[in-house]
Symmetry: C2
Subunit: 331 residues, 2 copies
């Protein structure tokens, strides 16, 4: 069956609020460095009032990934819930302007559009505090089954297990995709997120997933093992899945048919802000899969996209990734 989309992403639709910070600030507010922590509206406002001058940029993990897929020349769609407010308009504008199909209607009652306060320390690490806002309204009613049926790959955020009804949407999307023999991918999102939903994530991996994205701390948390090698072996025990495990500057390990291969990261001059690194790695990898490229080339595409996004502030690419990838891969 022909596909209308290369990839459809489902996720928490979030506007990022990004400020430079220092480690003293993180300590003063007891923030878990490098992690994504959920906060209430009140906590978010309190933290914002103490935050330095910021810029706003559309974010959301799967949304960033879809923007990357579109920038590579892929056909991408997205589903997620914003509120009918100014930040919701910003989110909708930016994802559409990037060439991603996005038709989920804005909520007209309930909490405002989600925001993620991102504190970028001088070591380029990002620490995220998310107020989920309108994302808690995301439900199976927000799915467009025709889009999911028409997408080669459905890409789901682990973060979707945090808002109460989004996991129902997540499960329903998987059901729709699998009924049409489409592939389903999951990103584990965050080590603490894995902690919150480990049993369910493991069950999904056993029953419903084709592709899993994780970073090192997430995969250790998933299998509750102490070493990376043990984690890889645990993944290899699921030979019918594709695993893409990122390791920052150490590159990534790709596992397919039970075989594991290391792929080097791109060299870059200066890492400015690691926000979006994993999201954009997934863009390259998924785009490569949708074009039936070998897994090693999918991983290289992932590293090329990740290198672009960590060389500047903000979670989305600033250049056309298709041009960049062609230059790096020679066409």
């Amino acid at each position: 069956m022909n596909a209308t989309y290369d990839v459809v992403g489902l996720g928490n639709a979030i506007v990022d609020v990004i400020a430079k910070s220092d480690d003293a600030f993180l300590q003063r507010h007891a923030l878990a460095k490098g992690a994504m922590t959920l906060v209430s509206a009140q906590q978010s406002e309190r933290l914002y009032s103490d935050m330095g001058p910021a810029i706003e940029a559309s974010g959301g993990s799967a949304a960033n990934t879809m923007v990357g897929v579109a920038s590579l020349g892929g056909k991408a769609a997205y589903m997620g819930r914003v509120f009918a407010d100014q930040l919701g308009q910003v989110f909708r504008h930016d994802i559409r302007a990037a060439g991603v199909e996005f038709a989920t209607p804005a909520a007209k009652s309930g909490p405002p559009t989600a925001r993620c306060l991102i504190f970028v320390t001088p070591d380029a690490q990002r620490t995220m505090q998310t107020y989920l806002g309108a994302c808690v309204e995301f439900s199976p009613d927000d799915l467009d089954p025709a889009v999911i049926e028409g997408a080669q790959i459905s890409y789901l955020e682990g973060y979707l297990w945090d808002p109460p009804r989004a996991k129902e949407a997540f499960r329903e999307a998987m059901r729709i995709a699998r009924a049409k023999h489409r592939r389903v991918a999951l990103t584990l999102s965050d080590a603490f997120c894995v902690d919150r939903h480990r049993a369910e994530f493991r069950e999904l991996i056993d029953t419903s997933l084709d592709i899993v994205f994780a970073n090192e701390s997430e995969i250790l948390s998933l299998w509750q093992v102490a070493s990376f090698d043990e984690a890889v072996r645990a993944c290899q025990a699921h030979p019918r899945r594709i695993w893409a495990i990122t390791r920052s500057e150490k590159g990534s390990v790709v596992i397919g048919d039970g075989l594991a291969t290391h792929v080097a990261a791109e060299r870059i001059e200066k890492v400015v802000d690691t926000t979006g690194a994993g999201d954009l790695y997934a863009s390259g990898f998924l785009f490569g899969l949708s074009r039936a490229r070998p897994l090693i080339e999918c991983a290289r595409l992932g590293h090329i996209c990740a290198a672009e996004v960590i060389s500047h502030y903000g979670p989305r690419p600033e250049v056309a990734l298709a041009t960049l990838a062609a230059a790096k891969l020679g066409g």
Copy 2:
């Protein structure tokens, strides 16, 4: 009399929406490159829907200048009108987080917070389309006379002559400042803005101003002359005013007591986005004046601040200007 503030700025309180663009886009939409054009809410929305992915950052000319003064270590205050919406909260947060006193209450009825769509072309030039929104509500009632009385210099945007009642606030602020023998500064803001208000600006210069900021096209427009030399001579004919006239990479010409001096611009590696160049030049110059520095040093401070802001996207400094200035001026 001791001063509570070094500088108080009055201006249009605006959130910038910044996107990369190309000359073809400007031509297709018939945008006046390098200028600030006022647009209606409908025009702004139409243009936004065709704009690429953007980031949001607090802007507003005099607001940017006050942030620069604070970043240099000066005591700065600001007055301007936002609406009680998300962009208004962003504006208020950012200027306060930068250390600027800002207490003008948000409008609770009327149009939303002003936004300026900024199209940055590959030559680093910015083209601005402003929807004034809540700025049209700015009136003399929004002034805090004690702040103006307590500020060494009141700094006013030429742009304030665009919203209907803001010029009344502008005139009232001048009256308050002059009654306390404080100095009053004006920036001509934009060549088209000068075109719209030339007669009144000339009358202000004759009667009420101590310091005038302009760039080359603005000063030519003010005096309706064809050459820069003629414009300088016209300024010199007002010997009791200080004039600071910026000329991009050619530096600036400073005129005091009728004497004109050229001051070189700072060398910088790469100009990324010229948004805020004039605003931050004014920061350095005004801060220098408030510390009774010689005019040439005021201009050098201006160039140091301008060089920082044009080396990245966005209209406000990303580093502590006090540290930068100390490194450059050796003090």
